[in-house]
């Protein structure tokens, strides 16, 4: 299993892996936002956490459809399906590798983009922390979409459409926890803990769903 993790990490940084494309897209989305909204610094600071979260959500979906499709194209998926390792664990390891390579860079880049949005230090810290806790859920939910669309040649957009509605709870609690950190009356901890719970919930359900979809994708 460590071998699979290392291979996927290696693949994502080699040519065509596209691990950094997500970060570039994230930066572009957030950087154009002030041009659209206008130079109102207070407004930017207010909508900042939401914009950074939405940008991270969209960028996290970007490379998701390739998670199983590349494996299928070169025939590796057949061999992954045949082994005695439970498929659920294989999927979970692939999710971890995908998160480390594609989503963790987004979390690391988020403070810089928080500066673009004129956010306070506390808000930047809160967004980074909620992204760190919430973004694994995006990958785990996405793995189900990626597995369902694995046999479709142009499944990329379909995966995003399938996955986005399911990501809404993550977005809601991620953003509300970030706001709670800066706006006084709202407590930070409850939405943050629900976010953590969502991630843990999908850490169980996501790989099971994806494994089921992959088993039945048989062709």
């Amino acid at each position: 299993m460590t071998a699979l993790l290392l291979r996927d990490l290696k693949l994502s940084v080699r040519a065509g892996g596209g691990a950094l494309i997500g970060v570039l897209f994230f930066m572009t989305v957030v950087a154009v936002m002030p041009f659209g909204v206008g130079p109102d610094l207070n407004l930017l600071a207010r909508i900042g956490p939401a914009i950074v979260w939405i940008g991270a959500l969209l960028s996290a979906l970007l490379g998701l459809d390739r998670m199983f499709q590349t494996e299928r194209e070169d025939g590796s998926l057949d061999l992954l399906l045949m082994q005695e390792h439970p498929l659920v664990v294989t999927v979970l390891v692939k999710c971890i590798a995908h998160w480390l390579a594609n989503v963790l860079p987004l979390v690391i880049a988020s403070p810089l983009l928080g500066l673009f949005m004129n956010m306070s230090e506390v808000a930047i810290g809160a967004v980074m922390l909620t992204l760190l806790v919430g973004s694994p859920a995006l990958t785990l939910i996405g793995s189900v979409g990626a597995a369902v669309a694995v046999t479709l040649p142009r499944g990329g957009l379909l995966v995003s459409i399938l996955v986005l509605p399911l990501c809404i709870p993550v977005l809601i609690f991620g953003v509300s926890a970030s706001y709670a950190a800066v706006e006084d009356p709202a407590p930070f901890l409850p939405p943050f803990l629900i976010l953590a719970a969502i991630t843990m919930f999908f850490a169980v359900l996501g790989p099971v769903g994806a494994a089921l979809a992959l088993r039945n994708a048989g062709d």
């Binding site: 291979r7 590796s76 061999l79 399906l81 045949m82």
Partner: protein, 215 residues
């Protein structure tokens, strides 16, 4: 040690591809599938490998020792049309990954990657990215993958596609070696492969004709 298929049948969409195929392969035996394109050779191999659910019948593996029931797929190497190697990684990384990931079944050990590459006569290009190799070299390296981890059953779907005659002879020799060590081989080919198939099965589309002896 036996691989048993019992009245297998499979659908592709609505159409029945084959039905009622049974075989029983023991140690050091081979089953060679022949037949025209579309007659269901690949489908049968994928059913045995557990990649397509059969419409009827079952595939069963009976191990040599009293081991707990394992899925037949777990004791099989499957070499399909696609090579299951990543073009971005070097050959050594590819083989090393499969060696670690597949692991050995009880009853044998896989060869180190250098040895496996030597066995397919490509020991000198382990450092190259897999994508740089020619189609024939890629196929040979995909075959080397069968050597790095021990599996008693080899399922080979057109193993000699894109190969020259010397490589065909090489593959036949490796298959004979595997059988001599007690392995079981299921292969589908168009080109005659120089190994001693115990059974032959000619797939003829829906109405199949069994040419085997003692199945």
């Amino acid at each position: 040690m036996r691989l048993i298929a019992d009245t297998l049948s499979a659908h592709r969409g609505e159409d029945l591809i084959f039905s009622n195929i049974s075989f029983n392969l023991r140690k050091s035996e081979a089953l060679l599938l022949t037949g025209r394109n579309g007659s269901g050779k690949s489908t049968l191999l994928r059913v045995v490998a557990g990649l397509i659910r059969p419409a009827g019948g079952r595939v069963e593996w009976v191990g040599s020792e009293a081991e707990t029931a394992v899925r037949a797929a777990e004791v099989c190497h499957y070499l399909g049309h696609r090579n299951a190697m990543k073009p971005e990684l070097t050959v050594a990384e590819n083989l090393g990954f499969w060696r670690d990931f597949l692991g050995d079944m009880s009853g044998g050990t896989g060869a180190p990657i250098e040895e496996a590459a030597e066995a397919v006569e490509l020991g000198s290009i382990l450092h190259l990215p897999f994508g740089y190799l020619s189609a024939g070299q890629q196929r040979r390296m995909a075959f080397a993958k069968l050597l790095v981890a021990h599996r008693p059953v080899w399922i080979l779907d057109e193993p000699t596609a894109a190969l020259d005659t010397s490589a065909e002879a090489l593959f036949a020799r490796l298959i004979r070696n595997h059988m001599a060590n007690g392995g079981i081989v299921l292969a589908a080919t168009h080109q005659p492969l120089d190994f001693d198939a115990t059974y032959r099965l000619e797939m003829t589309g829906f109405d199949y004709r069994d040419m085997g002896v003692g199945i």
